[in-house]
Subunit: 308 residues, 2 copies
């Protein structure tokens, strides 16, 4: 039987990379031959975590059927987010914290999805159920994932289970979650090396709201001014993208990881919807939304009904 | 918030009914208002278990959106097996032991699927994880489900986890699994009251194999002669069904729960495939297949490649 490959979604983030590493380690500990791999480049935040705990990045793969017939998916399940040749292999397990869609199997399998803030929180349970203690390195990586996905426990996606898991992992990893966590988030929030195109593309998602097409991009920063100093060029790039994709509105959220507020830059014919949604006035196409950090919980569900 | 309804698949069997009852009880024990309901008639085997442990049958429903906005699915996930208006409510949990298909959610939820023989085996884990001990009645019902789904641990679908769970449940229920189990299976194997149409319809599934349409029906008995005495009428009914549905083959498996062999009655232009598959000769359209009890594990995967 070939080795099982364990991987997260395309465009990998810290949760996806560290979940692959930590779950492959658990499978190995219980006697299953498994290897973590990745479907894309390591981002600066994840690289900080890997460097801090001295763990090498998983091997990059473009396809999997050429080397195995069995895979485990972590932190995703939807086909369009996964490896391109997934239909040629058997998915033996899914460990995830998202909705399920565009996914089916031919046979019974293991599926563990829970509505928590981070895949790592589920992995902590699985380690316990299997009677295995995570290594210091894997505990550190899983802690990094929870900090990343919950923005240091400040996001409304964070659940009590995430905080509990992070507390246990910080003790195992021998770090202070607040101190280490801020350093981790700052590593991911360094926008100085990012191009304009990267700023509005790396974490962007398109939505259909009513009859309108809306795209929402987000970037984390330690000082919004680091991004807004380039506002003129960013607006030009957004306007080009809107014309290209036929968008009715583009919202670019610049989220301050220190204050947990977001400055939003809004362009398009429907921009006034944002003013109504948050009771703000756009000045120079911008407004500050206090306490807004989660696109999933605090932007998409607020805007969607106003388009209907 | 309205009460969560918990239910299994249409055409309910013992696992589906008892899983709904036992999981609703666990949700109640942890403070969630939940009620077990069912989507169809109680079969004689399930009725035996309910009577034995003095538990009333769940309430029959045809739709759910008229009374709740939240449901939990047990022992199934595929849309065509579920309640007709499922798309109008939120599925908050799925507890199952089948493949996943024709299923998606809008939001993160709880999904617990494991490749074990019976949903009850997963429920036993969930009771433990929640620190709740099943009542004697619910232990007896979950034990009944494992016995039913694994044909008293003889089916190749039975896993070590199923046997372990059943052993614990038998102790809690205060019954001998072998003695009680045989009585339970016999209650389900009483074919004397079943019509010809029921025999070939109640547990029948249609498959596409290669370019051919094949239907496989199964019935459990304590003596195959109880069914085969009606062979002429059964063949007439099968031939009518084959003509009506354009089938190329119909296999009717009469499974002896005492010997764990199956007598098969095979009709249609492709019947010779069964002779090749099991190295037997059909005499009077019949053959005995020693040790064959599972359509899912011992019939479908054996026949399918021979049609390709």
């Amino acid at each position: 039987m070939s080795k099982t490959l364990v991987f997260g979604h395309k465009n990998p983030d810290t949760d996806t990379i560290t979940a692959a590493i930590s779950y492959a380690a658990l499978k190995n500990a219980v006697g299953v031959e498994a290897e973590a791999v990745r479907l894309g480049a390591i981002n600066p935040e994840t690289q900080f975590a890997l460097d801090y705990f001295k763990v090498p990045a998983p091997r990059l793969v473009e396809t999997v059927a050429n080397e195995t017939d069995r895979v485990i998916l972590v932190d995703h399940n939807e086909a369009q987010q996964s490896v391109s040749d997934r239909d040629q292999v058997t998915v033996t397990e899914v460990i995830d914290h998202h909705r399920i869609a565009n996914f089916e199997t031919a046979d019974p399998f293991v599926c563990r999805i829970e509505p928590v803030g981070c895949t790592a929180t589920i992995l902590v349970k699985l380690y316990k159920e299997n009677g295995v203690t995570p290594s210091k390195e894997n505990a550190g990586l899983m802690l990094s994932a929870i900090i990343s996905d919950t923005l240091l426990f400040k996001s409304p996606t964070c659940t009590p289970a995430d905080i509990e898991a992070a507390t246990e992992l910080a003790a195992l990893a021998g770090v202070d979650a607040q101190v280490y966590g801020l350093d981790l988030l700052k590593a991911g929030a360094d926008v100085s090396q990012k191009t304009i195109a990267e700023l509005i593309t790396l974490d962007a998602k398109e939505f259909v709201m009513g009859t309108k097409k809306v795209e929402i991009a987000q970037v984390n920063v330690v000082d919004p001014a680091d991004v807004l100093v380039r506002q003129t060029d960013i607006e030009a790039a957004i306007n080009a993208k809107m014309a290209d994709k036929g968008l009715d509105m583009f919202l670019f959220a610049i989220t301050n990881i220190l204050t947990n507020d977001s400055d939003v830059l809004v362009l398009g014919t429907e921009a006034a919807v944002v003013e109504r949604a948050y009771d703000v006035t756009l000045v120079n196409n911008r407004a500050t939304l206090p306490g807004v950090v989660s696109r999933k919980k605090q932007i998409v569900p607020i805007l969607t009904p106003l388009f209907n």
